[in-house]
Structures are given as C-alpha cells and as structure tokens.
C-alpha cells in the first residue's frame, strides 16, 4: 500500500530539493521582527484634564462656579496620587465654542496637551439644589467611559464632586476612592490633647472630645461609628469609647495601671487591649457585650500594640521578649507566636493592610523612626520614609492604597503617602499626632 507513495517521492523529491535551494539563493530583503524592551512607564500618573463646567441655565450664584467646580474636582483627583491634573493654562479648547457632548468638541484639542482622560460637565442651580452632569472621556480612543448626574445641596458642592471623583477612580482603577473616609488624630498643645477628625482631602476638621488631657491610641470600630482611646483625664490611663453619632464619651475600663486600646476585631464584637493589671503589660481580649477580658499573652516581657489581621485569624503585636522591641505575629487565640521583624533594634506600631498580606510599622533607622512595610511572612521589607524627622504611627486607608503617619517635625504633622512611599502630602500641621484611618462609612 505504501509503494506508490515511495514511487511518487522518488522522482519529485530531488527536484523539489533543488528548486528549494534555488529559491533560497534569491535574496529577499526581510527585516525580521525586532523586539524593544521597555522596563518602566515614563509616568506613574494618568494625565488628566478637567474642563470648566458649563452652566445649563444662568442665574444668580453661577458666577465663578464653572471654574470652581472644575478646580475642586481636580484637587480631589490630584490627592489620590493616580492623576496628574493638567493646568487649565495649557488648554487649547475655546470653552465658548466647544460643547460638552461627544461630537461637539475635538478630542485632538485634548490629546495635543497630553491628556489621557478628560472630564466635561455642566451644572444647574434649581432653588436650594445643585445638579451636576458629568462625562468622563477616554481622549485616546474618543470614547465616553462614564456619564452620570449628581444632585445635592448647592451649598455643599464638594459632596457631589467627591462622589464624581470616586466614580472616576472606580472606572479607571477598579476601586472607588476613600474621599468619604476620615482620619482621627489628636492635637496636643502644652501637654493637653483632644481628639479630632479630618477628611481624607484635608477638609472638614472637627474636634470630638474635650478631655484636655494626655491621650493615647485612638482606634476606630469597624463600623466607623465609635472610637476607642485612652485618656489620663482621671489620673490613670483609662479606656474610653467615643460615639460619633451622639458625641458622647464613656469610660469602659479602668483597671489599675495601663488600659490601652489595641485593635477591634473585624466583626466589631471584641477589642484587643493592653493591660498591666497583672504585673507587666500583656495583651487581653475584651468582649464588647459582656466587658469580660481574657488574657492572650503570658510572658515576663512586655507585650503591647496588638493589631488584628483583616481576616481575624492573626494578631500582630510588639514584644521585647528577645531583648529589643520587635514585631511578632501570633494566632488569634494567643498561640503560635513568631517574630516578624529581624532587622533593626526598635520596631513598633504594627498596622495590618486591609488587603491582608502586608504590615506597616515604625522602625529605628539611623537614629530616627521611619515607616516601613513588610510582608506577613517577613519578606520584602521596604523603607518608605527617609527624612530627618521621626515618622511614627502608620495606618492604612481602607482601600490599602495609602498610609497616614505622623511626623515630629514642625511640632507634629500628619502626612499621607501612597503605599509605595510616593506622593507624600501634608494633611495636618501643628501638634497633630496618633493618626488612625476610619473604615469606609456604612
């Protein structure tokens, strides 16, 4: 059966080989595919333009709002660290001639100034209400990515713009912003302090307490409705809870010695605390309904600053059991402790990323405290701050994209940075310390 095939091949094969060889000898200039390697983006921010909002109906109170709304939205986008907001001085488009709908303006006017994305919006004031309509454009492709209307009070346009900014962030990065989250902190003046909150963008600063005392370690409950903190108001470092809705503060624990809030459990039913009632500082678990405490660490050395992992299975804490203060991780029941930080002579204030795998802490480096992050398994240690001030008390934003920390420079400041250490901005100045980031409001 195979004979005919072999027969066929006998005559044709040498000839085919000959032809192939001849064909190969004809030079055909061909440039084979060349590969170029690009190792990193030129920019770590998206170039973004916000056109002035256009009034849909004139009237009193609309003057200055066009640029005002655009500027404010630009500021919100800027503080996220994801966008490079292009100054309106660079704009080519004539706002009197261009519209806000697709087809009524030229994308080339915006791509020419380097914008990747563009927001165009309009507004209308109707009685006490402000109505904003906005569209997010992909300038490169000429597409609409988002078209949405927002209505609210005209005296609070920032609420609408924060929602718009959060929606833009959701579309472009897959996760909304933390514009509606707060940072609680204390402001010290001549040894007396009180608790304050401020929004992520640095606005709406409010005072919560009137203790005028030495305060420690404010800690948000997971629902964002209360803050636990320690105050020396009555002479002893006792534990208090402040209810943000009612504005009331009540004392919940006053064992002799230290009563220090550590971290709420993810379900909000328990609170890790540090007490020294049994001799030295140890970590206890406080049940928030029965107010019973259960001891978790039993040790002759000091164990403080417990921080729950987001899944509630592990607890990071600080102990000097190996001589110097170092960060350890143990199981939620107090067993299986292992040392996390192996470098440096002083590591403290652990805070678990809401994303779950990484912890931030402050560590001594070159005689100063600096902010570090480290993987839960102790790998990939990264120093994020390098300045000449002591940088302390890092905590994460609820989306895990930012870290707020305090700096002793200039009498006490709070800074926010992106988790890779870039885009540092000052949130509060003047005696501020112990920042702690709220969860998202529920």
């Amino acid at each position: 059966m195979r004979e005919p095939l072999r027969h066929g091949a006998k005559g044709g094969f040498p000839l085919a080989v000959l032809l192939l060889c001849l064909l190969l000898l004809v030079p055909v200039p061909v440039l084979a595919r060349v590969y170029l390697d690009i190792d990193s983006p030129a920019f770590q921010k998206f170039p973004f333009a916000v056109a002035d909002f256009q009034p849909r109906a004139g009237g009193p109170g609309t003057e200055g709002l066009s640029a005002g709304l655009a500027d404010r939205l630009g500021r919100y986008l800027d503080v996220t660290g994801f966008f490079n907001v292009i100054s309106r001085k660079a704009f080519l488009e004539d706002p009197r001639k261009a519209g806000i709908l697709p087809g009524t303006f030229r994308f080339s006017d915006w791509s020419a100034i380097g914008a990747d994305y563009l927001v165009k919006g309009s507004f209308r004031i109707a009685g006490p209400d402000l109505d904003i309509e906005a569209r997010l454009f992909d300038v490169v492709r000429g597409e609409v990515l988002l078209a949405r209307g927002y209505t609210g009070r005209k005296d609070r346009p920032e609420e609408l713009l924060r929602r718009l900014a959060s929606d833009i962030l959701q579309v472009l990065t897959g996760e909304g912003g933390v514009f509606d989250t707060k940072i609680a902190f204390q402001v010290k003046s001549k040894g007396r302090a009180d608790l304050y909150t401020i929004l992520f963008d640095g606005t709406e600063r409010k005072r919560l307490t009137s203790h005028q005392s030495v305060l420690y370690a404010p800690r948000w409950s997971p629902d964002g409705r209360s803050l636990a903190f320690t105050s020396l108001r009555d002479g002893n470092p006792d534990l208090y809870i402040h209810d943000l809705a009612t504005g009331r503060t009540r004392k919940i624990m006053d064992y002799p010695g230290l009563n220090l809030a550590g971290s709420w459990s993810p379900d909000g039913r328990r609170l890790l605390v540090t007490l020294s009632k049994d001799g030295n500082e140890e970590i206890y678990l406080l049940d928030m309904s029965s107010y019973q405490v259960r001891r978790l660490t039993v040790n002759f050395s000091i164990d403080v600053s417990p921080a729950w992992s987001p899944d509630g299975r592990k607890i990071a804490f600080v102990s000097n059991r190996a001589g110097s203060p170092q960060i350890y991780v143990m199981d939620a029941d107090g067993g299986g402790a292992r040392r996390l930080t192996l470098e440096g002579s002083y590591n403290t204030s652990p805070s678990w990323s809401p994303r779950g795998r990484r912890l931030a802490f402050e560590g001594m480096s070159g005689g100063r405290f600096q902010i570090f992050t480290i993987e839960e398994d102790g790998s990939n240690l990264l120093q994020l701050t390098f300045d000449r001030d002591d940088n302390e008390s890092p905590t994460w934003s609820p989306d895990g994209r930012y870290i707020v920390y305090s700096s002793r420079g200039g009498g006490g400041k709070l800074h926010i940075m992106n988790v890779n250490g870039t885009n540092v901005r000052t949130l509060v100045e003047g005696g501020a310390a112990s920042p702690v980031w709220s969860p998202r409001p529920k």
């Binding site: 032809l19 030079p27 595919r33 590969y35 170029l36 030129a42 170039p47 660290g81």
Partner: protein
C-alpha cells in the same frame, strides 16, 4: 477508516503526481531565470544570509538632545520626508558627521571596526538593567548599504520608536500591586509611520497593565515615516513592557 482512503487516492494519482512535480519544477526554473534576468541590475545583491547583530542603544533622551553623532542620524530619521528623494543616499556622507570629520576611503573598514566594538560592548552590557535593550536580527538587504550602516540606522529608528512609546506609557504603580508583569505587543509600521495590526503576543494578566500598554502604543503612533533606506514596505516590531521597576 479515512486513512486507507487517503492512501488509495495517492495510489491512483501516483503517476500524475510525478508529472506535476516535473511541470512545477520547469515553471519554477523559468520564473527563476526571468527573475534573475529582469531583476534589478543597478542594485548589486550580495548572496549572503548576513550575520546576526545585537544592537544595544542608550536612552534616546540622551541621543536626541545631545549633539552626538547619533543626533544627526535621529534628525535624518525624524525628518524622513524630504523634498529631493533621489539624492538622499548620495547626500548621506554629508549628513553623517563621522564622515564629515574624517572622510577617508577606508570608511567601511572603520565602520566595521566600530560595529565590532559595539557588538563587544553590547555583549558585555546586556546585563545592565537601566538601558533599553533591543535585539535586532536583520538579513543583509540590498541597496548598496553595508550591514553595519543599515544596522546602525535601523538602531536609530528603533530608538526613536522606543523613546516615543516609553514617553507615552503612564501607569500608577498601585495598579500592578507590586507584581512583576510582562506584556508583549507587536505591530507593523507602514512606510507612512502609521501602525497596523496592533496585537498582544502575550498579555500580562493584569487588565490595567495591558490597557496602559495599548494606550501607550496608540498615543505614540503615528511614528516618523520609515526612512527610504529601509528596504521593506513595512517593518514588524514587538515591544516587551515590563513592570520590573514598579515598586509596590
């Protein structure tokens, strides 16, 4: 069941297959002879497969801004549309500063030496991470230009591409979550400099990363028109984007 059927077909057609191959051979031979006789006489073609070169370039940010010898070539590449196209090749010695400074008849030897040195440097510096790394594999083209000349000029064109694309690539570090990612796209660049057939050869798996890579390509295009000395109607380029330097 189908296998014996196939064999039977071959069985019946065995004799004619032989004839067909013979006929095809004759036709090919005729075509070949015609091609050789009527082919371009002016451009002497060299029947070699050409060496494989590795071209390594420093950042175009330097070459484009400084008045280095490559800068003139860059201008040549960027300003490829010329009034008098026929004289471009003859003008070349004036364009290249090296030749202007040292117009010796042993220019090709010198070029070859430089190319060899460059190859050595390229080999030793392949590991240097800060540099854009390009590997070009060219077969010897026609047109009377030496391999090294063409390679050098292609290198400049590729450096322009590299610089254009990189300068358009924007991606916040947070979106890669500290992962080491790689995406490879390829595209064909037409004579006009426009790109066609932009496609992923390999996706990174991170949609933000992949999206940013496509945007960089779209924003960078159109590229400068292909210079005349490029022998092809279009060139095929692949671009590997890495996130290795993005910290978490």
């Amino acid at each position: 069941m189908t296998f014996p059927g196939l064999l039977r077909t071959h069985h019946r057609g065995g004799g004619s297959l032989n004839r067909m191959i013979l006929l095809s051979g004759v036709l090919h031979l005729v075509a070949l002879v015609l091609l050789m006789v009527l082919g371009p006489v002016s451009a002497p073609t060299r029947l070699t497969f050409g060496p494989v070169y590795s071209v390594s370039l420093v950042s175009m940010a330097d070459t484009a801004l400084n008045a280095s010898p490559a800068a003139d070539l860059t201008r040549d590449v960027l300003g490829a549309v010329r009034q008098d196209r026929s004289t471009v090749l003859r003008k070349e010695p004036d364009i290249l500063p090296k030749r202007k400074n040292d117009p010796t008849p042993r220019q090709t030897d010198l070029d070859r030496t430089i190319e060899e040195l460059r190859r050595k440097v390229a080999q030793t510096e392949r590991a240097a991470p800060a540099r854009p790394d390009m590997t070009a594999r060219l077969s010897t083209p026609s047109g009377g230009m030496s391999d090294s000349d063409l390679n050098r000029r292609m290198g400049v064109y590729y450096a322009v591409l590299w610089n254009r694309i990189r300068s358009q690539w924007a991606l916040p570090a947070d979106l890669t979550r500290g992962q080491a990612l790689e995406a490879v796209v390829h595209a064909r660049i037409l004579r006009s400099g426009e790109i066609t057939g932009l496609e992923f050869e390999k996706r990174s798996g991170n949609r933000f990363f992949d999206e940013s890579v496509l945007r960089a390509m779209q924003k960078a295009a159109p590229f400068p028109p292909l210079p005349e000395w490029i022998p092809d109607r279009m060139i095929d380029v692949g671009i590997r984007f890495h996130s290795s330097q993005l910290k978490r």
